[in-house]
Amino acid sequence: MSSEPPQRTRQAMRRGPGAIIGVGIIGVVFLAALVGIIHTPFDPIEINADNRLSAPSLQHWLGTDEWGRDITSRLLAGAVVSVTIGLLTSLLATASGTLIGAAAGYLGGWLDRIVIAVMDALLAFPSLIMALGIVAVFSGSQWAVVAALSFSYMPSVVRVVRASVLTIRRKDFVDASTVMGNSRGFTLGRHILPNTVGMVIVLATSLFGWALLAESALSFLGLGVPPPAPSWGGMLADSRNYFEEAPWLALAPGLTISLTLLGINLLGDALRDFFDPRNRNL
């Protein structure tokens, strides 16, 4: 038992530099978000008409947009929005999904059947469409985006957690706990849920990436974080009007989103290798 973790770590490391690059990128993004909270070189929102669409320079590293706002500052402030929405969504969807999935899988019976029926109906919507529908109802703030995305990802978590609880439930140590007279709640909390932790962490990492991507997609469509608050997707959407004069407007936010997602994907792969060696090929 004691020799197992080092071996798994070695297996994960075999994947090469991916894991390290992933952790590095995510570190930079979180750092950027932190910097974005504390200080940005220029005001990310205030309009400066004299400085419209200026090309990248020493003063404005990534240039300025159609309102004369510094792109670097907007990317930093946008990192705060993206990371907050990604983390909150991932946390909310994972927590609610684990709770519902574990209860349904462990308690079974009518509760399980109702949960499965409702989740199947929710999963009949592609997640972005579900999010669009919810955002249409509660439009106008980043909390609406968090609620919409959490709700659209929650059913997937429920399904995965329920399936894994159903498998673990049949293990001998669960029977042993029951025979020892432990309550069902104790058995669930002490013996079943801890065995799903690795899988839930892997899932939560993917959810963080999906949420970040979906948030930029929603903002790109004009249905996400309302302007003038900076968001990477919104910046991309605005860049479309100045394609010929200012192509850097489309490059910076797009590259930022792509690199962040690359980091999350690499980290997710490494975590999957570590926690779930059976699926290491994915």
Binding site: G18, F125, V137, A217, I257, S258, N281
Partner: protein
């Protein structure tokens, strides 16, 4: 087989019924009165009441749902509040546009991903594998709307090879229509390829590690025969599921790609309906998307026995 089919069909009915209720009530939670939207900024309670009555908005909400569902089952999805045209008509033409974008994209993605993924698995842990995986992970990480924008910037604006804005139906003018579809199809396909390659590789690796593959090789079968006859076919089942999920999701969810390339597809229609508070159109879109998604996945599930005779039909 017929019983299996009927059983599966019957099982999807409650799902669809619950989904329709969800669509109906969710759309009703949208703040703002569509009658007032129709009327504009004019303050006229009598006219407002008349419009509300003509839209059926004055009845109890559960009654509105039952009446709506009854009409939907007869194919009547109501009238668009903004465009004053039947919703079914709008959906039909938008669905055609989306399908002409999504179906070629998914086909192209499969044609790229299956050989690439199998090759990566076959050359496991060799440079070819690492290269293919790196490219796939890269494409997986690029948002489709950004790739689309880059394509527009390079091939549309700079090189002037393809049109930047607009849409011509390939049914009306094949040559011109295809020119409008090349960039959107390519950008969507490349990103889906990233997802699919990883799945094909993973399931091929799973199959390659099974004993019967070693057995087949030990029999002296050529590597080609082993891969083609014994590995690929069995590795396709999980990939097939993912293809179905992708196809189903994209038929309603190519929203951002449609927005980048200003294609008048289903996703675009839905976003515009959200902005205009056009309830019937929004409901119609969600209904069509959901039904398509469920139907495509059902078809995929029903086709499992073709790939894997081991799937027990009575389950």
């Amino acid at each position: 087989m017929a019983r299996y089919l009927a059983g599966r069909l019957l099982l999807t009915l409650p799902t669809l019924l619950l989904a329709t209720a969800l669509i109906f009530f969710m759309v009703r939670l949208v703040p703002g009165d569509p009658a007032q939207v129709l009327l504009g900024d004019i303050e006229n309670p009598a006219a407002l009441a008349r419009i509300r009555a003509s839209l059926g908005l004055d009845r109890p909400i559960w009654m509105q749902y039952v009446l709506w569902l009854g009409r939907v089952l007869q194919g009547d999805l109501g009238m668009s509040i903004v465009q004053q045209r039947p919703v079914a008509e709008l959906l039909w033409s938008a669905f055609g546009v989306t399908a002409s974008l999504v179906v070629p994209s998914v086909v192209l993605a499969v044609l790229l991903a299956v050989p690439a993924g199998s090759l990566a698995a076959w050359k496991h842990n060799q440079p070819a594998d690492a290269g293919i995986m790196a490219v796939a992970t890269l494409f997986l990480s690029i948002p489709s709307f950004w790739l689309g924008l880059l394509f527009l910037l390079v091939f549309g604006v700079k090189l002037d090879l393809f049109p930047v804005v607009g849409y011509v139906s390939p049914l009306e003018d094949l040559r011109e229509g295809l020119r409008y579809l090349v960039l959107p199809v390519l950008s969507l396909a490349l990103i889906e390829t990233g997802v699919l390659v990883r799945m094909v590789r993973s399931s091929t690796l799973d199959v390659l590690s099974l004993e019967y593959v070693t057995h087949a090789r030990a029999k002296g079968l050529s590597e080609w025969t082993v891969m083609w006859r014994h590995v690929l076919r069995n590795a396709m089942a999980p990939t097939w599921t993912l293809i179905g999920l992708t196809l189903g999701a994209l038929l309603g969810g190519a929203v951002v790609t449609e927005t980048v390339f200003t294609l008048p597809g289903l996703g675009r229609l839905m976003v515009e309906a959200i902005f205009a508070r056009d309830y019937p159109v929004l409901q119609g879109c969600m209904l069509l998307v959901t039904t398509t998604y469920v139907a495509v996945n059902l078809l995929i599930e029903l086709s499992y026995p073709l790939f894997d005779p081991g799937v027990r039909l009575e389950q």
